[in-house]
Amino acid sequence: MKILINGEPRAVASAWQGETLLACLRDHLGLMGTKFGCGVGLCGACTVLLDGTATRSCLIKVADLGTSAITTIEGIAAADRLHPLQQAWLDERVPQCGYCQSGQIMSALSLLRHCPLPSDAQIDAALAGNLCRCGTQQRIRLAVRRAAGQLGEP
């Protein structure tokens, strides 16, 4: 069985096909950027894009993916340049412990695809399911707005 991750088909061994997408990404395919936080879709640390929409990878089984295209945090930078969201996260010095941040960035990416110039209220609504315990929420808001401005430039 193969699944499409960051534009590449990746083979999944049979022992891992009954696993969650999160476990498969991390411990079978070695993509460690997507994190385990709660296992029941309540913290957002495991957020990936499934056909462009933010999805909790702890809640999907590999066997149920079908032909969906998966994007993880490892797949959003260009070869030589960070994605504007990643750069904005560094420019605003968002991360404290950093553990939740890949999920935050993936949810923000999904937001900007559907809503290129979000208000603070729209950012809050889109990211309310991504918990951060360190208290980086204010900087996350600033980083999303900064990236949105850059993405909006011609």
Binding site: D27, G37, C43, C97, G98, T136
Partner: protein, 692 residues
């Protein structure tokens, strides 16, 4: 967590070595220039900084990188930053207490200056003896400090590169979990039966591991090791262990045990912080009760560890997300009967610590399982295990009585009861903890010795051993104690008809505290009425305090309350902060922001109750933490100071919750008696004030 002053170093060694059931006391050497020699190295034009602190989001690695670059006079690109293993550097104390800048910046700068001078003198090899150069002669603390440094691990974090303990992946690695009775580890629990044959039929099962080494607290553990992480859930369900648990308890029993009024009816409390004579019988102007529940650390990274046991080499290698790698080494070595030098511990970046990752739990589990199967085993706790088997902030119950005279607080009586923090029951057996009751628990007392000058003060507390595991949580006792103090002081200001900020200043002698308080007032435009919105009431509150006699914070909060629903929103927070000399302003601001969000959580969001003999919560749905839509804009002001750097990791805990609770009181009249604030209590207060 200075436990040595209780046992004494010599006594600890001889007496603990004799019996494996006694807890390991963490090693706490003071960092000095000699220790710092092992932190900085030079070879062939490049430098390596072995960061002697655990990196858990305070970004101390970035701060110390800046110190090293400033002192060495080099660009950050010339320096490699490494999180050292237990073999790379001398033993250092655990990363607790917001002490890293205060205690480690100076010796690191001294070691760097020694290295710089040696290189300038043409010496390029050998071991240098770091010189105890005074701070005022070091560049890292001089006017030219502040080399711009990129955040350590910043790029790895935003690109999803492996950094944390659970990101360690080894060929042939297995996955483990230790099953326990769904009960507090303070209740004795043992396995009655399990369906072992059925579980063994699962092809993903590698081993079922039993033995006393898996016991934690009074909880027996049954280990399972499997080929994939998801198989652990399936195998646990098939195995269906049944447990025998001695006893049970509910939340009412926990609340009853610490009920401060019940304790005061029995007489004086056991531990005295301040014992001035106060008149017991006359009327009180302020008489407040405040009950603060237990709360979780709720780091987004559940505890995780990877252990690799090599039977041929008889060595154990571990990757941990712990606040104290050396302590993990010593505990694991003791429990497995290995010499400490045969255990190598790599500290990984920690996905949030907050005081919670200070004991050996998942690390021991991973070590025992790896040792049993002779392989590499990864264990990461589920969120339910985090709630059920982790330790938490103890609940506390406060009574504060105030007598006013001539527009000032004349007599102050703060009585409270809580459970252990430093001498935690999560680490000490009951009999040993009883010893500690003779000396009190400085963690529980923290912040209760309030900063205001009054004529007479009685401050006393009881320590109650609860059936729940409790221990250090950001700020230790300072969060709850300062919240209670600030709410009562605010009520006293209102009662005396004086502005809350001016009333505080009247009682403050410490100029640094007065300065942050005045500055917070200026920045927030204190005294201005917040704008009015139909259907809502708004209010502003202020609070201030001192953390560990070294760092200062004042916070102003503005809240809006929906008259129809009673919902409370914090709409703006201002914080003025003084932690002495600021090494890296952005990192200090980040810590202030974190503390403000924690204060918001304490007052409006967080609670952890007991149910059925355990912590009742098993997910974030049962025990929420603040979300992005709860967090208002925050403005942080840092006081530039020539004082030696102190700490920022927990300071604003002294004022964040108080300012929010006082803003709520200003808006609604509600002096919350229990936290977190419930909408029903807000609506009742509004109705009493004739505003609903």
């Amino acid at each position: 967590m200075k436990r040595r002053h209780f046992l004494g170093a010599g006594l600890a060694v001889s007496f603990l070595g004799a019996c494996s059931r006694l807890p390991v006391i963490p090693d706490r050497p003071a960092p000095d220039p000699r220790a710092a020699q092992s932190w900085i190295r030079y070879a062939r034009g490049r430098y390596t900084l072995f960061v002697p602190r655990v990196e858990m989001g305070q970004n101390i690695a970035t701060g110390l990188l800046q110190i090293a670059c400033d002192e060495l006079g080099i660009a950050p690109a010339l320096l490699d930053v490494r999180l050292p293993s237990t073999r790379d550097i001398d033993t250092v104390k655990g990363t607790v207490g917001s002490d890293s800048m205060r205690e480690f910046a100076l010796p690191l700068a001294q070691a760097c200056a020694t290295l710089r001078d040696a290189l300038a003198a043409g010496r390029h090899a050998g071991l240098l003896e770091a010189r105890p150069i005074p701070m005022e002669q070091l560049r890292a603390f001089g006017p030219t400090r502040g080399t711009p440094v990129p955040p350590v691990h910043g790029r790895e974090i935003v690109c999803g590169a492996p950094l944390y303990a659970a990101d360690v992946c080894k060929p042939g690695m297995l996955f483990g979990r230790v099953l326990r009775a769904p009960a507090s580890p303070e209740l004795r629990s043992t396995l009655k039966k399990m369906r072992e044959a059925a579980a063994r039929a699962d092809p993903a099962l590698v081993a079922i591991v039993r033995g006393a080494q898996l016991q934690q607290g009074l909880s027996e553990g049954v280990g399972i090791v499997a080929r994939t992480p998801g198989a652990l859930d399936r195998i646990a369900a098939t195995l269906a262990p049944e447990w025998s648990v001695d006893g049970s308890f509910e939340q009412a029993a926990v609340e009853g045990a610490i009920d401060i009024d019940a304790r005061l009816r029995r007489g004086r409390l056991r531990h005295l912080i301040s014992d001035d004579r106060i008149g017991d019988n006359a009327q009180w102007d302020i008489d407040l009760r405040l009950d603060i529940p237990s709360a979780a650390h709720a780091a987004i990274e559940p505890r995780a560890a990877v252990a690799d046991w090599s039977p041929s080499a008889a060595t154990l290698t571990m990757w941990v997300g712990s606040q104290d790698a050396f302590y993990q080494r010593d505990v694991v070595a003791r429990r497995l009967g290995l010499a400490p030098e045969l255990v190598l511990v790599h500290p990984c970046r920690v996905g949030g610590g907050f005081g919670g990752k200070t004991l050996s739990t998942v690390e021991l589990e991973a070590a025992v399982l790896a040792h049993a199967v002779g392989a590499t085993v990864k264990v990461q706790w589920t969120r339910e295990q985090e709630f059920c088997f982790g330790f938490h902030r103890p609940p506390s119950s406060h009574r504060i009585r105030v007598r006013l005279k001539d527009g000032r607080v004349d007599q102050w009586w703060h009585a409270f009861a809580s459970s252990h923090i430093l001498f935690t029951n999560a680490a000490l057996p009951a009999w040993m903890q009883r010893f500690t009751d003779l000396v009190g628990d400085a963690g529980v007392a923290r912040g209760a010795d309030m900063p205001y000058q009054v004529d007479a003060r009685r401050i006393e507390f009881d320590l109650v051993r609860l059936p729940l595991l409790t221990g250090p949580w950001r700020g230790l006792g300072a969060g709850p104690n300062c919240l209670a103090v600030e709410m009562a002081f605010d009520a006293a200001a209102r009662q005396s008809g004086t502005d809350a900020l001016a009333f505080r200043l009247r009682h403050i002698r410490d100029p640094r505290l007065a300065r942050v308080l005045r500055q917070a007032g200026v920045r927030s435009g204190w005294g201005m009425q917040p704008p009015h919105r139909a259907g809502y009431v708004t209010g502003r509150g202020v609070a201030c305090g001192i953390y560990k006699a070294a760092s200062y914070a004042a916070v102003v909060a503005e809240v809006t309350v929906d008259l129809a629903s009673g919902a409370v929103r914090v709409t703006q927070l201002w914080c003025c902060h003084d932690c002495g000399m600021v090494i890296n302003p952005d990192l200090v601001r980040a810590q202030c922001e974190g503390n403000l969000v924690w204060g918001l959580g304490m007052v409006l969001v967080e609670a952890l109750g007991a149910a059925g003999g355990r912590i009742g919560a098993s997910s974030f749905a049962d025990s929420p933490i603040p979300r992005i839509d709860d967090v208002p804009p925050m403005q942080i002001d840092l006081i530039e100071s020539a004082e030696a750097p102190s700490g920022a990791g927990e300071t604003a805990m002294v004022a964040a919750g108080g300012a929010i609770a006082n803003a709520l009181a200003a808006a609604t009249g509600l002096r919350a008696a229990r936290l977190p604030v419930r909408r029903a209590d807000v609506l009742r207060a509004l109705a009493q004030a004739g505003r609903a």
